[in-house]
Subunit: 110 residues, 2 copies
DNA sequence: TATTCTCATCTCGACTATCTAGAGGAGAGC
DNA sequence: GCTCTCCTCTAGATAGTCGAGATGAGAATA
């Protein structure tokens, strides 16, 4: 019943990841769970999408990864939002609002 | 200042086309203009995206094309929404609402 | 001790929508 | 005759995502 992370809102995975990390640093597996839970199962995150996204975001300087131990003493790579990432999230959120508003105008036209 | 039709709302071009044709049958060029105008310049439609979309939608049986003369007496391919297309538009619109609501929950999390 | 379960990271090949960058043609106006 | 606008359409490339895994390590169970 739950969808892939793409579908109609393709291109928003980066924004979801940035937003999730804005709350607190987290490892990949945890980010995937958090997105799935917060969206109430609407978005299911695929590792084949998630890890390329991490590379993309880290290369852009928006997140920074660091190896640590998870709460269960397992090794995990914790990602944290950088200052640039915070700005990027803000910009992307604004852009998202702009585009959904425009799409709403189209869908409501008579 | 205006974006491509993709970006954050990638995957919604089909829905925009279906919705535009739900108002009245129209030719490709006109659809592109209509989308650009209704979105107030937020979405700029690229022929390289639009015409593949027409093929896709017609092959799926959601729209049907027919050669006619435009108001300016030029030959143009007018597309009309089929009954199946109408159902598809409804489903896709509902899905869009579901996904944007889920994304809103993520963006508003604290 | 051996096995299994869950946590957790990561890769590879393929697909598909979209983009860039055009070509081509036909009616209208000068 | 020339140019402008309308209008359709194509080819090649790109990029994000998907499906289907492999890999490994700690915890729990037998």
């Amino acid at each position: 019943m739950s969808d892939k992370v793409s579908g109609l809102v393709q291109g928003t995975l980066d924004m979801m990841v940035l937003k999730t990390l804005a709350l607190e640093p987290m490892h990949g597996y945890g980010i995937a769970l958090r997105i799935e839970q917060t969206s109430r199962g609407v978005f299911r995150v695929n590792p084949g999408s998630l890890f390329p996204a991490f590379r993309r975001l880290e290369r852009a300087g928006w997140i920074k990864g660091e190896w640590r131990r998870s709460e269960n003493h397992r090794r995990a790579k914790y990602y944290a939002l950088t200052e640039r990432g915070r700005k990027r999230l803000k910009a992307e959120t604004a852009e998202w609002g702009r585009q959904t508003a425009a799409l709403a105008r189209i869908l409501e036209a008579t």
